[in-house]
């Protein structure tokens, strides 16, 4: 009896995993309402003896506006809208075009496309694989263009249902960052 149920479960599990695919995940992510979250970020850089921590607020306004406002350790912000990124830091504002900084663009696109539920945009740059189920999913992104591999090795985004909870970026040189998001309900 037990053997049969195990066998049944074994048969069932892969089928269940397949049932929750990238398509379903991105359907649950897509939406047209702005989303707010606080974030805690921890960067591990080989050069430094201990991780650098920062925190602040993340706002995503569909379809393509992403704001990251850091309040600690110092106030700064990066606002990305379409191809234009505006960085404000220490009273200075500078504008750059993402298309000229592929290393930055590749990172921002991963988060932005995921938040937007835009699978088509995401799969232009990344191959995407999802594990888990709707309640607890984990999306793994690897850049398709090998030249982008020097910037980012892979990205793991995890969450539950339509909410992104963590974004982990693994860089090719071993450095990595983990961002934990806590949604603020409007």
């Amino acid at each position: 009896m037990i053997g049969r149920s195990v066998l049944f479960a074994c048969l069932l599990l892969p089928a269940a995993a397949q049932a929750y695919g990238v398509q379903e995940l991105f359907q649950s992510l897509a939406g047209d309402k702005p989303r707010h979250a606080t974030f805690q970020e921890k960067k591990t850089i080989a050069l430094l003896d201990k991780p650098v921590e920062s925190s602040g607020e993340l706002v995503f306004t569909p379809p393509a506006r992403l704001e990251k406002r850091t309040s600690k350790p110092r106030t700064e912000s990066i606002v990305v809208e379409g191809d234009i990124a505006t960085i404000e830091r220490g009273g200075k504002r500078q504008t750059l075009r993402l298309s000229q900084y592929p290393g930055v663009a590749v990172l921002i696109d991963s988060i932005r496309s995921t938040l937007a539920g835009d699978l088509k945009a995401l799969t232009k740059t990344y191959s995407a694989a999802v594990a888990g189920d709707a309640a607890l999913w984990r999306l793994t992104l690897r850049p398709i263009d090998p030249s982008l591999g020097t910037f980012v090795e892979h990205i793991e985004i995890a969450g539950s249902k339509g909410q992104v909870r963590t974004v982990e970026i693994f860089q090719a040189d071993g450095d990595r960052s983990v961002m934990t998001l806590t949604p603020i309900e409007p």
């Binding site: 960067k43 850089i45 050069l47 430094l48 003896d49 201990k50 650098v52 921590e53 920062s54 990251k68 850091t70 350790p73 110092r74 700064e76 990066i78 191809d83 960085i87 830091r89 500078q94 504008t95 750059l96 075009r97 298309s99 000229q100 900084y101 290393g103 930055v104 990172l107 910037f151 860089q171 450095d175």
Partner: protein
Amino acid sequence: MSTRARTALAIWIVALAIAGWQIAHTRFVADMSSFLPLEPTAEQRVLVDQLRDGAISRVILVGIEGGDAAGRAATSNAMAKALGASAVVAAVSNGAGATFDRERELLLEYRYVLSPRVTPERFTVAGLRSAIGETLDLLASPAGMLVKAVVPRDPTGELVAVVERLRPAQSPAMAEGVWATPDGQRALLVVRTRAAGSDTDAQAQAMAAIESAFTDAARAPPGMRVLMTGPGVYSVKARAMIQRDVERLALASLLVVAGLLLFVYRSPVALGLGMLPVVSGAIAGIAAVSLGFGMVHGITLGFGTTLIGEAVDYSIYLFVQRDTQRGGDDWVRGFWPTVRLGVLTSIAGFAALLFSGVSGLAQLGVYSIAGLVAAALVTRFVLPDLLPARFHIRDVSAFGAWLSRAVGAVPRGRWIVTFLAFAASAVLLFHRGALWDLRIESLNPISIADRQLDAKLREALGASDARHVIAVRGADAQSALEAAERMGEKLDALAAEGRIGGYESPARFLPSAATQRKRLESLPTAAELKPRLAEALRGLPIRAGRLDPFLADVERAKSTGVMTRDAIHGTALEEGLDGLLFRDSSGQWNAMLGLRRPLDVPAVRRAIETSGVPGAVLLDVRAELDTLYAGYFERALVASAVGLAAIVVLLFATLRSPSRVARVMAPLVAGVLVVAACHAAAGTSMTLLHLVGLLLVVAVGSNYALFFDRGTNARTVASLALANATTVASFGILSLSSIPVLNAIGSTVAIGAFVTLVFAALVIPPVESAHAHDRP
């Protein structure tokens, strides 16, 4: 044929041969800088040099439109590759693969002599601690990954400081990996030619190279077009336009005048002979300009077509006025003195152009004087002897007599002329505010559509408007750079107060050697730096051992020494520097500091005054050019007045009678007033070239008035009518030109020649004079 006639003929043929040889070795140009002054002030020279040969003059902006974005990008890349290998192109960029690896390496290598933050304080324990702390903060920020790799070499962030100062305020938009207009509909390339913008031939070659690079690249996708703009492109386009117009107009002029003469003469031989003075005059004119200026402007050639209408007059006078029974010698005795006086008054008028201070106008003056003198001399010394024994043209005295009667029938001719002159003066007085157009743009042959395209592409590339510039000078490059640095300190303060939006300086690409040495002296030795760094890093999350490359780099910077111009040769840094630091024609070095908006002009002027930098001036490029043009416009006006006075003096000396001088001058003055009033009433503000046209009216009209003054018979009246018809026809055709310069002269002279003839006939009614042949 007499010995004297044979000598004249021989001289004529030899002179033509020499002139022909000179023309064969002549360079023809079309850039509008010929219409800038010959003797500019120091500031103007900087500007004129910049416009002629400066870095700005070498830039061709290229746009690719049509097809799809991917196709445009592919074409852009293929063109960039092909043009990069072209001999006429110095540099080409399209935004793709603009990794600036070499530039980045250079900036990194020389960061300690380039960074303004390098001071002794920065390398103390406290200075190092704060600089490194800032870099660590940057590492934590989203921009951190851009700098992470160089932190071990550059923990104080000098590279960031250097790059920040060189980065343009705005970078161009991209589409499919190449520069594009913001709407993404055009791909953009920037081509820098080896030759200066004023070298029209070389610019044409560069344009051809771009065109062929495009055709090769875009062979597959249809519907794609290439657009070019820039100062050199303007010159090439203007030259092509002038060439096309000149060819068409000269042909039309020739056909109309020849048709008219053939209709009147009924003799192909007479037509052929009548053209001899015209052709000789044109050849002499071009050769004289080529000798005097070393090149001939296209506008001068266009103007030359009008000589057809003017120089043909002399042979008309000879053929029509000469008494068939008494022959050419008789005409020489009777009419030549009047023609000679007419030629002299014309020369007096055109001499005004020689002193206008504008090489383009001086060319017109030389051309006209040489051309008219040659045409008159050929008519006087060569033509009479070439007339065949049984030379015959249709008798036109009946037509002349009819004209004389018609004019004689008009009552109170003088009153009509006086009334019209006063009416014209009233019109001029009413429009006095808008009589003259003092903007240099009024001479520009380039269409508004072309200029708008240029402005659009320029804006898309984020090129500074290059309108407000501070120029500082020095005997050598170093002192110019030092002056730029002193000026820069003042501008930094203004930028901090928000009074200017920022500025560009050549000293950012290449600081003066003095400044570089000062920065090098700020660097501590390795023995000093090592313990300071260890102390500074206490409590920071980075170990000193990781920063060994920093110690090595500081040491290396000291031994590498200052950065020279050679070090940046062939890089984007040199390109940036070239436009801002250059040597002018007087051998002085000029540094240009381009200002960005917003702009508080009075504050900038105050900063210049208090800077103590000798010879620093704020140039508003467009206003400066207009001022410059208005300046020599005034000069041309004065020269014209002097020319007019010279004509009066000449007439006094020859006619020796105030009343005769008055009646010769009256039709000319009335004619000039009426033409000017016509332009004013039509809403046309007159330019420098209208003024030239008015001078021509006086020159042509003086011939008419002098003939009437010496007494006319039916044949004289007929010859004047015919001469006038050819002049009006050839200048009328010139007025059809789309080039403002030629159009202005054409319309002015066509109207003017006609009204002065009518006025001369009304003021001095044609009367058969018994003494006609005895009076000069």
